[in-house]
């Protein structure tokens, strides 16, 4: 048991960069001692292993070494599943016409869209936002914050504007 190892364990379990101050308070050392411990840890990690110590956002954090970025990306890859063409269609309709009911999506697409809609709800890209005050009180759907995040949008206003003939004016839209 030594301070460098203790710091490694703590930084491993942290979900954000930890400052000298916070580390010192949690581990009962002075900030100077913590800084020394971090130096030892940094040197040990640099010499061996797949991890490194980085100073980021005013604190310290463990990260993978850059040379393993490809492996890590390949390992994490299966998660960002691309949306299928039909999911994209449903999502586009919900994004531009929200709040919108399943029946309205069906009408616009000309095919049943309940499966696609459900998948998008599962992926938390769209969600129920209320009920339409028409017979049957059908559910209304809208996009989520996750949708904004996934498409790198700051707000819905950043959706590319559509011109009147129904074609998206992609030229005007600047992808971040």
């Amino acid at each position: 048991m030594n301070l460098a190892d203790e710091l490694e364990a703590v930084l491993f379990a942290a979900d954000a960069p930890a400052s000298l101050e916070i580390l010192a308070a949690a581990l009962n050392y002075s900030e100077g001692q913590i800084a020394q411990g971090l130096e030892v840890l940094e040197a040990r990690l640099e010499a061996k292993g797949g991890l490194q110590l980085v100073q980021i956002g005013g604190g310290y954090q463990l990260s993978t070494k850059p040379e393993y970025a490809d492996s890590v990306a390949r390992f994490l890859k299966p998660r960002p599943q691309r949306l299928s063409r039909s999911q994209l269609e449903v999502l586009a309709i919900v994004a531009y016409k929200q709040p919108v009911t399943l029946a309205e999506v069906d009408t616009i697409r000309g095919v049943q869209s309940d499966y696609g809609l459900r998948l998008l709800v599962e992926r938390q890209l769209i969600e129920e936002v209320g009920r339409k005050m028409t017979p049957g009180r059908p559910l209304l759907y809208g996009t989520t914050d996750r949708f904004l995040h996934q498409f790198k949008l700051n707000s819905l206003e950043q959706l590319p504007p559509l011109t009147e003939d129904g074609k998206a004016d992609l030229g005007k839209f600047n992808v971040l």
């Binding site: 994490l76 586009a92 994004a95 009408t107 616009i108 498409f151 590319p160 559509l162 129904g166 998206a168």
Partner: protein, 250 residues
Amino acid sequence: MRNELAKFSVSPPCVTALGVVAPPPIQVESDTFSGPLALLFEFVRDRRVNLLDIPLAPVCESYFLYLLSSDRSNLDESAAALVALAYLIERKAWAMLPAPEEEPIEVEEGAALGEGCIGDYQFAIAALTEFEAERLKLFFRPEGAFPSIPPEIINHEIDHLAAAFAAILGRAEPSPFETVHRARRSLASMMKSVLDAISHEYRSLEQIIPAPFTREDAVYWFLAILELIRLGSARLRLDDGNVHFARAAA
């Protein structure tokens, strides 16, 4: 169930806090349950009443009676009642089916143990307690703690999104044509107003049209004057490049 007990509300449907329409207060009377349909629905759902003890035929009858006597505008309410009724019928149908002799879902080893009592599990509980204590000493990376690779960012898919919408708009049915409900004006009535407004004295259009007026008013006045000129009831004259109008001599 006594039909005379089925009293129905005909006025606006009762919308609950969730925006769901409550079924109408159809009364259910039996030896084991007495109360409105909505309450029966709740009791059955929460397994507080045995559905097998409650005859559903009179409830259905009462529902039909309600349909006949209720207003057409209560479609939501009758739909809500139908949903509740359908649920009860389905539940009862299931409950009346004979149970299969053997359980189809079974775990071979676990189920081999008898019913047992809690004493049989003392060791298991002790073992789990021990495992938990050990496990509590381990810390794992918190979920979603790996920040270097944004989880689900797919570059440029936003363009595809817009393109998908544009493509789909091409295929869309035109929205139903909506008539604009504005008071229709006829040119004839407009011509009458214009005739009242002009005199034998030549005046410009601005002087003739009573202010304030909209663009649409201006168009109507202008068209009416042109029509009057065509019919010979009005005349126009050019003064210093400005057009002036007057009533034609009788």
